[in-house]
């Protein structure tokens, strides 16, 4: 029974990748995102680029995974294609996991590409490959789930994008992407610690840079897994 379900999860995710995620326009949009982020910060302050790289990688995964999950599901709701899955002999869990894995894979791919870029061009050394891999995977899954959550409450793609930004933009400023969480006022720190990007960026920082983070990197990963 479990094997059957896993197979169907795989077919749903593979169909989404083929039909939507691995199309040239989306791949190029996904690749533009980290390149533009990194270059913008590099030209502004070449010496300080290393400090913001973990945050930029986290942002890349956040924007890729949430956008795609929200857009694809809202699109399929709009065209009623999502109903095909609901009418098939599939549990809601199978559908949810299949849809999540498709967009999480896209987020992971974009996170991986941005990692390759920063290690190639800025000579960044990966201090802990295992925690880096786990951080990339858990961040992708957790952000894809945010995208799916957004798609539940909207009917149009523009609504999905507006709603996604409602969740994402506070995270850009409150999760340690550009400045440390513990340097913010206490009330904002509390908000920051309630957001998954904080743990994603902290785990990535400790996997890429020698300096210590907010907490042990595996505690970050555990909390991130909790969000997932």
């Amino acid at each position: 029974m479990m094997r059957k379900e896993i197979k169907k999860i795989y077919y749903i995710a593979r169909k989404d990748l083929k039909a939507y995620y691995l199309k040239p326009p989306l791949i190029s949009w996904g690749l533009m995102l980290p390149v533009v982020f990194i270059l913008a910060f590099y030209f502004r302050n070449p010496q300080g680029i290393e400090e913001v790289i973990p945050g930029l990688v986290g942002l890349t995964i956040l924007f890729s995974a949430t956008s795609m999950a929200a857009i694809v599901i809202t699109f399929e709701k709009r065209t009623e294609a999502l109903e095909r899955l609901l009418m098939a002999p599939l549990s809601l869990r199978t559908i949810l996991v299949g849809k999540t894995l498709g967009s999480a894979f896209f987020g992971l791919l974009m996170g991986f590409v941005s990692m390759v870029l920063v290690t190639l061009f800025f000579g960044l050394k990966i201090t802990n490959p295992l925690s880096l891999a786990l951080a990339l995977i858990l961040s992708s899954v957790s952000f894809a789930l945010i995208g799916i959550l957004i798609s539940v409450g909207v009917r149009e793609i523009f609504e999905a994008m507006t709603m996604a930004n409602f969740f994402r933009f506070p995270m850009v400023f409150l999760c340690g992407v550009f400045f440390p969480v513990n340097a913010m006022p206490v009330i904002l720190q509390v908000v920051g610690f309630c957001l998954p990007l904080t743990y994603s960026v902290d785990a990535l920082r400790q996997s890429l840079l020698p300096d210590g983070g907010l907490m042990h990197r595996y505690l970050d990963l555990l909390i991130l897994a909790g969000f997932t």
Partner: protein, 325 residues
Amino acid sequence: MEEVICLEGLSKKYGDLVAVDAVSFSVHEGEIFGYLGPNGAGKTTTIRMLVGLTRPTSGEATLNGVSILKDPVRAKETVGVVPEASNLYGELTAWENLVYMAQLYGLPKKEWGARAGELLRDFGLIERKDDKFQVFSRGMKRRLTIAAALVHRPRLLFLDEPTTGLDVMSARGLRQVIRKLKEKGVTVFLTTHLIQEAEELCDRIAIIVKGKIRTIDTPAKLKNQVQEVEILEMKVHPLFDSLPKEMESIPGVEKATLVEGKIHLIGKSVHQALPPIVAHLSGKKMQILSIQTLTPSLEDAFVKLTGVDGEIMRVDKPQKMGGGG
């Protein structure tokens, strides 16, 4: 006869609105069961509850003996659904769509290609197998949507307004497909607002109005329910305005009227008065050009049973556009 679908007090409420009101009936194996009603009567809501898209507010239903509430996944395994919108995946080809459905319905891998090919041939789409669904015409989309519902060889097929928005030839082709499915032993649950389509295809018809079942019977028996009088239509030459009055004097003819150059003779058993009618016309040196008995249509039965204007039912529903995905 085995009951393939069984509904017991199935209801759906949206706030104060009762879309489907304690509906109970069963559908027998191998029959085409029509579910007829005007737009907004509750047809699609019933089908959505049965196929797992909407949870009933109360009541119970089984498909092939499996409860849709207690074991929805297993209930859906032997069921094929053709929704009102042709909603396959626009970005996938016809072949890929069918293979994807085969995967979701758990067909063994070795059967995917063979089954997809067989269906594409049956539905006349094999030459377009590598074309994306989004470039297909409306009729082709509809055919592929039906093919997709048959991938796993279901014993029961739900068809929601299958011919809505199709041209005459495509609609006729689809009706032939439905008849062939019945020949193969597939039970068909057909919702439609087209009375003629229901009359042509269905073994039994349920009429639903405002969420309630008004009646369930065969088309012939539904028509008999409203056949209270016989109407004899005659074309005679020459036709005089005084003829109806003369005819009404013949025992058995309760009423006579002129309709579009013909005379309608109405009575409870007007055919028994035919010999004196013919004798009267011959005596007047009038020639009988044609003579026929008019029977009530299913539309007459529908109007009588529901109080809904049959004209409303002839209007095609606005077409839902699906399948962009």
